[in-house]
């Protein structure tokens, strides 16, 4: 089947920052994204898990599929929000069906 090149950006970020991130994406013209739950993890700031979480906010993952030429706008917008905060931003190549939707 015919597929088109796209980029998949995955941003793991603290839950209290979620709305700020999606607002920033929207402002940068990125209107397609999905939010996935994260149950726990480990990083520089130690280990955490949603169920044993003090304050219980934890982290989320925001996933965006975008056309390659829009990538830099998105990263710039995301970076401004993530900058001072915990979080991991990854980009990978993918192909999409129904590219006209993006």
């Amino acid at each position: 089947m015919e597929t088109h090149k796209a980029k998949r950006v995955a941003i793991i970020i603290e839950a209290p920052m979620e709305r700020r991130l999606t607002d920033a994406l929207a402002a940068a013209g990125v209107t397609g994204f999905s939010i996935l739950p994260v149950l726990g993890g480990s990083g520089k700031s130690g280990q955490w898990s949603r169920e044993g979480q003090l304050g219980r906010s934890g982290m989320m993952q925001v996933v965006c599929i975008i056309r390659p030429e829009r990538l830099d706008d998105l990263l710039q917008a995301a970076f401004k929000v993530v900058e001072r905060h915990m979080g991991v931003v990854t980009v990978s190549d993918c192909e999409v069906l129904r590219a006209e939707r993006f």
Binding site: M17, R20, E51, Q53, L54, G55, R56, R84, H85
Partner: protein, 325 residues
């Protein structure tokens, strides 16, 4: 003195405190026991709804007290002022930098609703009445401390830590809205409303509180386990001294306001308690460079259990000597 000890012992042997201890033990022993996050949130929604509603019904019973407004104002002022004292005390007792000290201080100006609930439950088993609107005071005390801490941090430097979004999040955070909302519903529907939903929010209340404190024990225990090393002796001392100081300020405020014995005790409890839900979330947004392990462990791992076990009976005993049971 004997009275205090008996009260404390009695308090320590309640199912509520023992449930907290069980959770603490389970977490420290690395048991896999967990309460699902959704269930814990469900329990806290129940508790907030019930406590707000019952406060509202009490107000509708006793009518609006002239002291109400002044007590709300006093709550707001306490919440704003206590962080300044906490900040000073931290700079004396610990080596935290200004940013971390201010972040911790914010927690101690704000309140812990579960500590408040535990306080009302001790009052209730001692047969001591209190002003129904203390619930509204609790709601008022949640937020000003955050403002005060952010001011401490941004003195001289950029004040750009607060955006409109953060303000709305703090003032309309879930627990404030639910507490104030159910308070108003209780006040509007009064005894008639209570007769409809009483079997849900009154009789099972303490049992639900047990499960909730089991979860808080689990969470506090995991926090303590992960935070080995973060909490120095100085910080530990702060976590116990600060509620003692705050409660004394709360006592003075309560006496000036002319609250009843129960009301004074609850104002002491609110002053002494430290936030572990609303304030941490705000700090993550506005002060991401502060270490959450420090403020969460102090608030939930040190001050919360101290208040729950020894603090509340102590505050009651002290207030009783001033007002007379």
């Amino acid at each position: 003195m004997d009275g205090i000890l008996a009260l404390a012992a009695n308090n320590l042997l309640s199912p509520i405190i023992l449930s907290f201890a069980l959770g603490l033990f389970a977490a420290l022993a690395r048991s896999e026991l967990t309460i699902p996050e959704a269930v814990a949130k469900g329990l806290s929604i129940y508790l907030l709804f019930a406590i707000g509603f019952k406060g509202g019904v009490a107000v509708s019973d006793n009518g609006l007290d002239a002291k109400l407004i002044w007590t709300l104002v006093a709550g707001g002022v306490l919440s704003f002022v206590l962080p300044l004292i906490a900040f000073l005390l931290l700079r004396i007792l610990s080596r935290l930098d200004a940013v971390n000290a201010a972040a911790v201080a914010a927690h101690y100006g704000s309140i812990s609703i579960v500590t408040f609930v535990a306080g009302t439950s001790v009052l209730q088993s001692s047969g001591i009445a209190s002003e129904g609107y203390m619930v509204a005071v609790a709601a008022v005390m949640e937020a000003p401390a955050i403002l005060s801490a952010l001011w401490l941090i941004s003195r001289g430097s950029d004040g750009g830590r607060m955006d409109a979004g953060l303000w709305r999040e703090i003032l309309l955070n879930g627990s404030i809205v639910l507490l104030v909302g159910s308070f108003l519903i209780g006040a509007a529907t009064g005894q008639k409303g209570l007769s409809e939903i009483g079997p849900f929010i009154v009789a099972p209340f303490k049992g639900v509180l047990c499960l909730f404190l089991l979860d808080m024990g689990l969470v506090a225990g995991r926090g303590l386990r992960n935070a080995r090393g973060t909490i120095t002796i100085g910080l530990l001392a702060f976590g116990i001294l600060m509620p003692l100081i705050s409660s004394m300020i709360g006592l003075v405020a309560g006496l000036i306001l002319g609250l009843s014995l129960g009301g004074v005790v609850l104002l002491m409890v609110l002053s002494a308690s430290a936030s572990y839900i609303a304030v941490p979330a705000a700090m993550r947004v506005a002060v991401p460079e502060a270490d959450p392990a420090v403020y969460l462990t102090l608030s939930l791992g040190v001050t919360f259990p101290f208040n729950l076990t020894l603090g509340i009976p102590l505050y009651l005993a002290v207030a009783s000597t001033f007002i007379g049971g």
